[in-house]
Amino acid sequence: MLHAFAILLSLQLAGEALVRAVSSPLPGPVVGLALLFLWLVVKLPLPQATNETADGILKHLSLLFVPAGVGLVQQLPLLRDEGWKLLIVILISITVSLAATAVTFAVLAKLMKIDSEAGRES
């Protein structure tokens, strides 16, 4: 667990350093994700608990968004003038986008006959 956490932090740090070195607009942690993925693909040695540690953090991913969500409430005055219109735009836009994304994915998977095994886990 300790070693696994050290790996996660080191790769995030490497990601942050890389992003700044090439002044890329990507966030450091996303580059860290790519680095850990490559690490796994080329089968470099990893601490045994890496899988469990990653699953443990991801199991409560929701918790990690709570402080930022509370920050939203502090910004509510920004919404005073246009608040309800913004909410309407967001609700319609995400409904359309969710449907467009999922339907494109599912229809293509069906046409290519690749949805039978992988996609239907329940």
Partner: protein, 239 residues
């Protein structure tokens, strides 16, 4: 005798109090969500945020003193993002097989998400600042705020749009997919992560590990594509 006012003054300025409150509020919210069979409306992020915000208002606590404690949890978003590589690697065979539908859905979803937000905002007569803040709303917060700076929008307002999009999408995705009768969990998860970034990904992991994996991929890919497409599409959408 303990003076409660002194005790409060001490505790409220202490990181430990708000860190503990955040953790306890989330544990309670997660228990409520589990008790209600993970009903989409019982979103643990939403419940915790509403509860903690009410406590902050009632106790007249300023956000910076709250965040002094909560930052330790916020910090973990970084290593958690890195950790997404583990389920991605575990489901690599499915991800490879689904490569073509995934890339097609990414391009369609990203364009629809940006264009629908900007065009609807224009149609409702929203200010230019609001239109610009809505454009990158589906990207993960760090990327969206970077895009906001590039297109001369307000990063704080953009962050609010991002969180609202995250929570609303996490609530809407399950009922919407059921109405559309989509049973492909890779597709459902991918849509959740593409539209509602990390909060959608957290919801997808609640429903199904495969959905969570595809949500994580969508979160990463759409973050990148949104950063590329927003500046390209904007002149055309605003024109």
């Amino acid at each position: 005798m303990i003076n409660f006012v002194d005790l409060w003054v001490y505790l409220s300025g202490n990181s430990l109090l708000w860190l503990t409150v955040t953790l306890l509020a989330y544990i309670a919210a997660d228990a409520i969500s589990a008790a209600l069979g993970r009903h989409p409306l019982a979103n643990p992020v939403l419940i915790s945020v509403v509860f903690i915000s009410a406590v902050l208002v009632l106790s007249k606590t300023a956000f910076p003193s709250y965040f002094a404690g909560a930052q330790f949890i916020h910090f973990l978003l970084g290593p958690a993002t890195v950790a997404l590589a583990v389920p991605l690697f575990r489901h690599l065979p499915e991800v490879k097989r689904m490569f073509v539908p995934m890339i097609a859905a990414l391009i369609v979803g990203c364009v629809v998400s940006i264009a629908s937000a900007v065009l609807l905002a224009k149609w409702l007569g929203l200010s230019k600042l609001a239109m610009l803040a809505l454009a990158p709303k589906s990207a993960t917060a760090a990327i969206a705020m970077g895009v906001a700076e590039n297109i001369h929008s307000d990063p704080a307002l953009t962050a609010v749009m991002v969180i609202m999009t995250g929570i609303s999408g996490a609530i809407l995705v399950t009922p919407l997919m059921n109405v559309l009768r989509l049973k492909n969990y890779a597709a459902r998860g991918f849509a959740a992560g593409l539209v509602s970034h990390g909060i959608g990904t957290a919801r997808a992991f609640q429903v199904n590990p495969l959905a969570g994996t595809f949500a994580g991929i969508a979160l990463g890919l759409n973050g990148v594509l949104t950063a590329i497409l927003v500046p390209l599409l904007l002149p055309w959408l605003l024109g």
